[in-house]
Symmetry: C2
Subunit: 208 residues, 2 copies
């Protein structure tokens, strides 16, 4: 019985899979889902179109995994920033600064994660993504309520609402700079971020 899958091959296969994923991620980061075709991903990964299907059963699966990877990265960054702060008020400020800072530095990717049209299979991942944010914020709020810094409230509702509030403040500007080819990212008014922070702190009942 010649040929049994050896560790060497296994390693090369999983390296190939990673290359596909990385290529797709890079393309989405640069051109969004709109610019992400299977042929393009394959070219960038240095392989034939058909080979992509050795690693992913369909484009939807590939894109969903791209989405998961990218969003996990974002959520981790935000959750980490929140956990470094002492009070809930400082925590929420750190969340907003981290979130908006990263989004403005990579507007095409942020638009892809937040709002770009995708097929329904991937849209489901978007809900997971938003939910993960909401959970990170919920932990923050729960801490604040426990220490008495924040008044009692429906933590799930507050967290979801804040996710929406933060996202919404960015979607307009991001959509604008995502359609415009390549431009200075910040179409955001000057004081928008500090004002958003104030809004968020007040919405949680933090006394500043």
């Amino acid at each position: 019985m010649p040929y049994r899958r050896t560790p060497r091959v296994e390693a090369r296969l999983s390296a190939s899979r990673e290359r596909v994923l990385a290529a797709a991620l890079a393309i989405v980061a640069e051109h969004g889902y709109a610019g992400c075709s299977v042929a393009g991903v394959a070219r960038r990964a240095g392989m034939a179109t058909g080979s992509v299907y050795r690693h992913f059963p369909s484009k939807a699966d590939l894109v969903a995994e791209v989405f998961r990877t990218a969003s996990q990265r974002e959520v981790d960054a935000v959750a980490r920033a929140a956990s470094l702060e002492r009070t809930a008020a400082e925590g929420i400020a750190a969340v907003i600064e981290t979130f908006t800072g990263r989004a403005l530095r990579a507007p095409r990717m942020a638009y892809a994660l937040l709002a770009e049209p995708v097929d329904p299979a991937v849209d489901a991942e978007r809900l997971v993504f938003r939910r993960a944010y909401a959970e990170a914020i919920a932990r923050l709020i729960a801490r604040g309520v426990a220490t008495g810094e924040l008044p009692g409230q429906d933590i799930e509702v507050s967290a979801a609402a804040l996710v929406g509030a933060i996202g919404e403040a960015l979607v307009g500007p991001l959509a604008a700079s995502a359609s415009a080819a390549a431009e200075a990212p910040s179409g955001l008014p000057h004081d928008a971020i500090p004002n958003l922070i104030t809004f968020a702190q007040r919405s949680l009942g933090a006394v500043t």
Copy 2:
């Protein structure tokens, strides 16, 4: 010179246009954009596929107008509800009740307006839609600040953030009930709406 466009024909033409629009609106309300094909619209409007193109240069134009019509209706309902209330606190409560009430009564349409994937041409309309909401809420906040009921704040940021907050609280449940064929609309937890109202009022600095 025989045949000059007579009022009679003109009337029939614009009636046809309306039939197309109404058919498309009905289909979107029932099955979302996903279920809205040109052939389907034509069938429902009682005409041939090609005739749709006598009234709209492309599907994107048709869908954009459907979107505009439907969203105008929603914005008007919310703005009207807000204007009937005396205080900003009551106004924002009315906005949330109206918005969520209508959305839960027509979840497929709400999902189509808020979150369903569409082609970029139509996505631009979505920004207009959200902006219109934000303007209605901004007026409400401005009134409250003017009367001293609300503290000074960045009205645009507060309004955009609230639009996001309200939308986000609904997107999860709506996405769930939009994919499930036809089910009882409310996947919303019991107290979510009053709690969202409390959140919104606190976020504006209303003393309740």
